[in-house]
Structure formats: C-alpha cells, structure tokens
Symmetry: C2
Subunit: 226 residues, 2 copies
DNA sequence: ACAGTCACATACCTTCGGTATGTATGTTCC
DNA sequence: GGAACATACATACCGAAGGTATGTGACTGT
C-alpha cells in the first residue's frame, strides 16, 4: 500500500460531493432508500455524460476518463455500476432505442385502427427522430460495431421489433397482401435507417426528408395495392 | 540512440525475408520495378492478413501487432504503407466493396436491356454476396463506425452508388413511375443491407434468403406496376 | 454501537495505436 | 562501378486508454 492517505484528511472529496435526496429530513422515512437514490443519481450522471460524448465524438474516440470527468465521478464509480465500456455504451443505446420506440408507438397509436396507415405514421416518426446526427451516431453508426447484432436486438425495446409487429399486424388484418412478415420488416426498417443517414448528409435535409416521405407514401400505396 | 546494434550482426532478419520477383535473372529488364513489386507484395500481405482478422475479430478487437505478425512484417512496414489503423481498414473495406460491386455489375449486365429487371438481379447478387458473415462484419458492422458516412461513400466504387445508377436508369427509361432517385435508392440499398444481416442470423439462412427474394420480387413488381 | 455492506476514490497494470530512429536494399547519376 | 540518394522496411520507445486491485468513508440492519 504505497502512499496511503493522499493529500488532506479523509472524507468524501471533490468528484461530485454525492449527497442527493431531499435534504436530511425524515431519516426513517425510507429504510434503504438513500443508497439507491445515490446510485441512481450516479448512474444517471454517467449515462448523461456518456451519451453526450458518444454522440459527438463516437464510441472509439470517447475515453472513459473523459466520461468520468464530465460526470464528476472517477472510474471506480463507473466500474462499480458497469462492467466496462461496452456495457456503458449499451446503456446509452438502450435509452436511445427506448426514446425512439416511444416516438414510434405514439405515432402508431394515433391511427391504430388502420394498421397500414399506422405503420406509415410510425415509420415517419422513426425517420424524423433518426435524422438527428447524435441519435444516428449512437444507434446507426457505432452500435452495430460495438454491440453486434444480437445485443442490438435483445437490448430493451428495439425499433426493429416494433416494426415487425406493425408489419405482422397489417398482414393479419388484411391491410396488405399476405406474406411472411420478416423480409418486409427488414426491407422497411433497413430502408428507413439508411434513408435517415442520407437525409442528414443531404445539402437540404428538409427537402430530402420531404422527398423521402413522398417515396415512402408511394411504396406503402404500392405494397397495399398489389 | 540507446542500445544500437541489437543482438547479432546486421542483415535482413526474420520477418518475411522479402525477396519477391521472378528470381534474380535480368537485372536490367525493369529499371525501378523491383521495389514496386516488393511494395505491392507487402501491401498485399498486409491487406490479406488485416482482412482475415478484421473479418473474424472485428475492427476494435484487431490489433495491428496481430496483423503484422500474421503478415510476417513489423509495424514499420505497416506504417510505411498506411497512415494508421483507419487507412488499413479503409483499404480492406475498399477491396470488399470492389468485389461486391463487381458481383452486382455482372448480374446487372446480363439483363441490362431491361433496366428494372437488371436492378433486381443486381440486388439479388448484392444480397447473396452480403450474406457472408465476414463480408458483413467489415462492410455493414464496422465500416460505419470506423470510416463514417463520407469515407464509405467516397471509397472506391461503392454499392450504393451502383444502386443509385440502376434506379436512376430505370426511371429514365420509364421502367418505373417517375420520381426522384435518391429516396428509393436509400430504401432499397438499406433494406437489402438489413436483410442480409437478418438472413445471416436466421435459423435457416437458405429459407430466409428465399423468402427475402420472394419479398423483393413482390416489391419490385409493386413499384413497377403502380 | 457495532458489524457488515455499499458506493465510491486512488493507484497501478497492460495493451495498443502511434512515432522516432536506425539500417539494409534497391536506384540513379556521374 | 562506386558514390549519393531514395525506398522499404525493422527496432525501440512513448503516451493514452481500458481494465483491475485495494482502500475508505457513508450508509444500513441488528
């Protein structure tokens, strides 16, 4: 044990001054609640910091030291809550997927009684949300290489699964000609993802988005009426 | 300059024993040809070794030391021919794209007089070639994160560009209803890429491929007849 | 209040991408 | 044909970054 007591005397030092929770009022209100809140707050800070850096610098160029510094924590905290860089990114990715899935579901449910139209609206929502370069960097560029196919699909509620359900339901309800749902799901989901990337890199993203939605409309009409 | 003469006396040591070319016959046959051949051979070895490791272990998990060892060279050689890991991967990626593009073109040209059918055949070729997990790991999983969008599209003859040309030509020739070519290109190319990944992970890849080609047929027919 | 656990902080190790430098093999020019 | 130069590497080293071992104070059940 070289150089034990570092610097000044003991006590919780700089990185963060962890002391969340609503003041120090009722200590007996919640038995083991304090530690949970502290943990949750730290995890929240780590995920927020990581999401910001991953989104702008990318997975490879983001160092855990930078994440910890931004979160006001040290690597001890990070490795206490995550097994490593992969799982940290995994957490960020899961949140991103959750947000996308929420947007898709909300759009879908507005016209859920018309299955095919509902899938179109869900697709539109996914496309519009996925245009954000930060979202793209995480979910479309870095996630495949960092997490792999299996992890991407098993993590939280992924959008591909949502798309599959929408396609399957449209088929079941007879909104489009009968067929296996998987192939069409892949074509639709992959097409939308690639479209989002292309739109974000276009000279005029707004125009590109409009053109893409037009094409999507044509495709949906063509599929339904064949 | 610490520890100058390392180990035994000088002389070209183990890593490779570079001595390509057709023997040492006519020395005056080609003026500056020997070095070129040597360089080309080294680059070839590096790209081959890198492709093997990148394909199986992925970009992040592949170390340059491992690549050099497999190629029978040291890092001095690698950094003489490439600026770094990115460019090495870039070279591997470019070759992969070239091979895919060649397969697409060959299939397309067989029925080039029917633009829409030709694009279908090109799509089929891309799909079948992209099912290989090694190809996928390089071109679909790691390339986006490692190279980014711009580099992927400007590197060599990329398949998306080929798809675009096929779509644009089909529109120009009136094989499908008029529309901007870019959105449909994205939907098609992205859909095929995602489909390839799904097929490779399916329980029965052959059956999944057949179903996907059926769906592709339906989609092409629907688009043409709308 | 005391023992045990949790949530971190500190210090260290190892791997790996990248660089600086040395050197043998061509290549060119006189 | 040999000196001068360029090319194609090999060797040795550096710094950054992911990961680990260990210590310590705050929190918690008894």
């Amino acid at each position: 044990m070289p150089a034990t007591s570092t610097g000044a005397a003991g006590g919780a030092r700089r990185p963060g001054t962890r002391s969340r929770g609503a003041g120090g009022a009722a200590t007996s209100a919640a038995p083991r609640q304090r530690q949970r809140e502290r943990s949750d707050a730290t995890v929240e800070d780590l995920l927020t910091a990581a999401r910001a850096l991953f989104a702008t610098d990318g997975y490879g160029a983001t160092s855990l030291d930078a994440v910890c510094e931004r979160a006001g924590v040290t690597k001890g905290a990070l490795y206490h809550h995550f097994t490593g860089k992969r799982e940290l990114f995994s957490g960020v990715y899961a949140r991103e997927q959750e947000a996308l899935a929420a947007a898709i579901s909300a759009a879908y449910l507005k016209v859920a009684d018309r299955p095919w139209e509902a899938l179109f609206e869900g697709s539109r929502a996914y496309l519009e949300a996925s245009i954000d370069p930060e979202v793209q960097r995480i979910t479309l560029f870095d996630a495949p290489g960092a997490l792999g196919w299996e992890a991407m699909r098993t993590l939280g509620f992924d959008c591909r699964e949502l798309t599959f359900r929408g396609v399957a339901r449209a088929i079941r309800k007879g909104a489009i000609p009968a067929r296996p749902a998987d192939p069409l799901t892949s074509m639709l989901y992959g097409g939308l993802s690639e479209s989002a990337m292309a739109i974000a890199r276009a000279e005029d993203p707004q125009a590109a988005l409009a053109e893409t939605l037009d094409e999507l409309r044509r495709l949906f009409d063509a599929i339904a009426g064949s």
